[in-house]
């Protein structure tokens, strides 16, 4: 069946689902009110993006009407059904959504002046009022928000009207300018000379430089550089055999040189950031094997990180608990690493064996329980003589490799050490994924019973996933111990497991590139459980954002930013089969069977 060409229909500017749009507007309003009361505008206001026009606090509010406006104009395009001609109608609809959303915020401004609800709501206070009123009168705040929101929402909806070329150019101009402003610390760290030229005195782009940057991005996008990159990507994906192999080698070489060279020219902050990204990348690569490839939802993954960290600390630190028998030696770091690997592997077996026969959701809770048990044991008075309880094990010596010492005060050395382990982990994951074992894991992920029927030893394979995951996590734990120089039970909360899970899921379950992208984007920008990212101001809000991101990804794009082809087919099986059916590739009777399953 081929798509019939149907003409566009022209409809009047008010001919749309008004009630639906009003509901959307109310949702937008709820979102705005929630963001305000959660304190994002106050907490982020100190970070200036474009001086003196825009701060991160205001950005946390105004992005929402823009996106809502864009979303209000999105229409499902169906084969054979006439699409509506874009035009004034979209603008009116976007404006309505924005107007209602902004009105909700105005209402909040009024309510905040009439009532005092500070008792339960901590942010119901003058600072928030001041921000919502732009430091002016109440009337100003009440009038400006609906207007501003409507304009932004109109602009968002307007993106549907302009031609794709201009749209992408505009978007890249806006996004690039924002990125330049948001990543100020990083950019200044890498290229110091830009500091005076681009940024104002207390941070933030100056208006002039913002305009210059935006124009630059607009022109670059308009002359088609973006499209050329996209074409190159498609070419690479479609190439086969020798060409592809050589292109892959080249890409890997470029990436390798970049990651090796960049930390040499950057300052300490960036190096620290890279080291943190690396530590979490190691964890995410390990969890990717367990969750992404074998489909086992392990929520206690932090247990292996903890075991790795504690084993290394016990074997290297002079301050380990007093109860250790004298035959437990004090080793140099690399010696301890070997023991750590062995012990984590054993712990992986020990935790894996009881849980692998359980149903998927039981398994999740039980692994979570193991994660907590291990943390509680490290914390307890019972084993105080071994692990020092809440005081933790301090004085973990740096990892000494003769030429360089890897320690926390020299984040660059940590980064290079992590890089070595990351390279090993990536290579191992990559080889495993394409091996018999990897195929067995994927078979188990898709359907365990079928995999078993096909002769896969599911028990051994799942155990193996656990052990490999545990060993990769223990690398991270060992590096973490050397980096921080001390190990506390509070570094190993369940939170860590969940953040790593978000990294893997947002990046793309089962895809190594995806996991790398996920770690860089999430840990780099938002930060780890305790480690700040580029947006250090986000530290209070990052867990909320992680939660929201997890829900949003699961609802909209469960396959992640960089999807694994096979995994995304599993997740969208129904749509995939429907498409195939529409194209006439599946006949009716076979289809009903498969859709049911």
């Amino acid at each position: 069946m081929t798509a019939e060409q149907v003409d566009e229909v022209t409809r009047g500017p008010f001919d749309f689902d008004i009630r639906g749009s009003m509901r959307r507007g109310l949702l937008l309003g709820l979102g705005l009110v929630f963001i305000s009361l959660a304190g994002l505008p106050i907490g982020l206001d100190t970070r200036i993006l474009i001086k003196p026009v825009l701060s991160l606090g205001y950005l946390s509010l105004i992005w929402l009407p823009f996106i809502s406006g864009w979303a209000s104009g999105t229409e499902t395009v169906l084969d054979g059904v006439a699409t509506t001609k874009r035009g004034a109608r979209d603008l009116v609809r976007g404006g309505l959504v924005g107007l209602i959303g902004g009105a909700c915020l105005s209402l909040l401004v009024l309510l905040m002046n009439w009532f005092d609800l500070r008792d339960p709501l901590v942010n119901w206070a003058p600072p928030l009022s001041a921000i919502l009123q732009f430091d002016r009168s109440i009337a100003f705040g009440v009038l400006v928000w609906p207007l501003l929101s409507a304009v932004l929402s109109c602009a968002g909806a307007g993106l549907h009207i302009i031609t794709p070329k201009i749209r992408s150019a505009t978007l890249s101009a806006v996004l690039f300018t924002l990125a330049m402003a948001i990543f100020e610390t990083f950019i200044v760290d890498v290229a110091d000379f830009l500091d005076d030229k681009l940024y104002g005195q207390n941070g933030g782009l100056t208006v002039m430089s913002a305009i210059v940057v935006a124009c630059l991005a607009f022109t670059v996008s308009a002359i088609g550089l973006g499209r050329r990159v996209a074409t190159a990507r498609v070419n690479y994906q479609q190439s086969t055999g020798k060409t592809k192999a050589s292109q892959t080698t080249m890409l890997i070489a470029i990436a390798a040189i970049t990651v090796v060279v960049v930390p040499m020219i950057t300052g300490k902050i960036t190096q620290e950031l890279f080291a943190n990204i690396g530590i979490f990348l190691l964890l995410a690569l390990g969890l990717n094997i367990v969750v992404g490839l074998a489909g086992i939802l392990d929520l206690g993954y932090v247990a292996f990180f903890a075991v790795g960290g504690y084993t290394t600390a016990v074997l290297t630190s002079p301050n380990r608990g007093p109860d250790w028998p004298s035959w437990v030696p004090t080793l140099p770091w690399w010696g301890a690493l070997l023991v750590t690997i062995a012990i984590s592997g054993l712990v992986g077996l020990f935790i894996g064996a009881p849980v692998i026969r359980m149903r998927g959701d039981y398994l999740a809770i039980v692994t979570l329980g193991f994660g907590e048990i291990i943390r509680i044991l490290f914390l307890s008075d019972w084993l105080n003589g071994y692990f020092n309880g809440a005081q933790g094990i301090t004085n973990v010596p740096p990892a000494d490799f003769g030429i360089i010492q890897v320690k926390g005060t020299d984040p660059r050395s940590v980064f290079y050490l992590v890089l070595v382990f990351a390279a090993i982990s990536i290579y191992v994951s990559w080889r495993l994924e394409r091996s018999r074992v990897g195929r067995a894991w994927m078979a188990i992920r898709e359907d365990e019973s079928v995999a078993e029927a096909m002769g896969v030893n599911t028990v051994n394979m799942k155990l193996m996933a656990f052990v490999v995951g545990a060993i990769l996590a223990s690398f991270s734990g060992a590096v973490f111990a050397a980096k921080v120089g001390s190990i506390f039970p509070t570094s190993f909360l369940i939170l860590v497991s969940i953040i790593i899970l978000v990294v893997v899921i947002v990046g793309g379950m089962g895809n190594i590139i995806g996991v790398i992208v996920g770690s860089i984007v999430l840990i780099g920008v938002l930060g780890g459980p305790k480690q700040p990212g580029l947006l250090a101001e986000f530290s209070q809000y990052k867990l909320l954002i992680y939660g929201a991101l997890l829900i949003w990804m699961m609802l909209r794009r469960p396959e992640g930013l960089v999807p694994n082809v096979r995994r995304s087919r599993e997740l969208h099986q129904e749509e995939f089969l429907q498409d195939a059916w529409l194209r006439g590739e599946i006949d009716d009777d076979a289809n009903t069977e498969e859709v049911d399953s």
């Binding site: 809770i365 809000y541 929201a548 997740l571």
Partner: protein, 382 residues
């Protein structure tokens, strides 16, 4: 069950042997611990006690202490049971663990705090007027928790119906994370203290016949146990005796056939979430009355433990959930002092949570269907 089939079909593997060892060790610890406890009660200075306690005699647990542990275990267990009902019902109907159910409980406890605080400011949290005030508070908590559960279903779970099972589970982790941190940002991260209960509620009372004291209970503990029992009865009546309850059971059994019988599956699922949420809300305010403190992370551990309770009692089985909750509460309160302490473990009260999780593992290893058997839908049994 598939486990049984695999066990018989594939022969004993190393994993099976390892699991047997774990089971034997865990049960052995329980038996030896109990024996040591009994020996220690009879003679605190016996050889084993001296050996485990570095040469000193163990301390005996008095009858009053023991009863106190049982009562606090039971009242806490009653709350676990109430939360567990929500897990159990949702698992029965939708077949996935609603990880965020613990947060519904927390929202209930938080609403209770806000209401109680406002009533206290108005001088209503004392004397005779306390009773209508607390009833209004319980009602509000129930409604707010219900609304939270329903919105959760609408926003996060309904769009995912029919996707692979792991997806709604991961989503519910996200929901849990989101609610927790939203509450921290909206209401502040510190612990919130409930106003003090009126004396007549807080005071300990002795139950007994004549001069024979059976047990001494705090007023709040009596309230908790009574309210939990009443809610449990109400729920049982709702599920077993009303038309909506019948629809719920039908949907749990088989969604497709239920819809063919003219049952509105969507509405039934929403009802399930609402009822589960209501139970969690009641548990929340009871928690507040009993411990008089709530923090945004309050929901996490009780949530996980309530799930444990649901598994212990048999998922999908409402009576089982309540019984599981009570036994988990009792085990958690008693086991550290009666099993671990006699074995010479020090700082046992820190290990409560570990005891609960170990119990979960043990039950899943020994009897995965729980004490009273699972009631799962047709799809789950397959």
């Amino acid at each position: 069950m598939t486990t049984a089939m695999r066990g018989s079909g594939a022969g004993r593997t190393n994993v099976d042997r390892f699991l047997t060892v774990i089971k034997v060790v865990l049960i052995g610890v329980i038996v030896i611990g109990l024996l040591a406890f009994i020996a220690q009660q009879i003679s605190p200075g016996n050889g084993f006690a001296k050996w485990t306690h570095d040469g000193e005699a163990a301390s005996r647990l008095t009858g009053a202490q023991f009863k106190g542990l049982v009562v606090s275990g039971l009242s806490q267990g009653a709350m676990y049971g109430l939360i567990a009902l929500g897990y159990s019902m949702v698992y029965g109907v939708l077949g996935f663990i609603n990880f965020a159910h613990g947060e519904v409980f927390m929202v209930g406890a938080f609403t209770g705090f806000i209401m109680a605080n406002k009533f206290d400011d108005a001088g209503w949290w004392d004397g005779a007027i306390f009773i209508p005030a607390v009833l209004i508070t319980i009602l509000t908590c129930t409604l707010v928790a219900m609304a939270t559960a329903v919105i959760m279903e609408r926003v996060a779970y309904r769009p995912l119906r029919g996707s692979p099972r792991i997806i709604p589970l991961i989503t519910s982790i996200g929901v849990s994370f989101f609610i927790q941190n939203a509450v921290i940002l909206l209401f502040g991260a510190g612990a919130k203290s409930y106003p003090s209960n009126p004396d007549w509620l807080q005071d300990a009372r002795t139950l007994g016949v004549g001069s024979f004291h059976i047990v001494s209970l705090k007023g709040t503990q009596i309230v908790v146990i009574l309210v939990a029992a009443a809610s449990m009865y109400g729920l049982w009546h709702f599920v077993e005796r009303t038309k909506t309850g019948k629809a719920m059971r039908a949907v749990a059994e088989d969604k497709e056939i239920a819809s063919l019988m003219g049952i509105n599956v969507n509405r039934t699922i929403v009802t399930t979430f609402a009822v589960g949420g209501a139970m969690a809300g009641i548990a929340g305010i009871l928690w507040g009355l009993l411990f008089r403190s709530v923090i945004a992370t309050t929901g996490f551990l009780p949530g996980i433990k309530a799930f444990t309770a649901a598994v212990v009692g048999g998922v999908g089985n409402l009576g089982g959930a309540m019984a599981g909750g009570v036994s988990l509460g009792a085990a958690e309160a008693l086991a550290p002092l009666t099993l671990l302490e006699p074995l010479g473990v020090n700082g046992v009260s820190q290990l409560r949570d570990a005891v609960a999780f170990t119990l979960l593992i043990l039950v899943l290893l020994v009897k995965p269907t729980g004490l009273f058997g699972e009631r799962l839908s047709a799809e789950d049994r397959a």
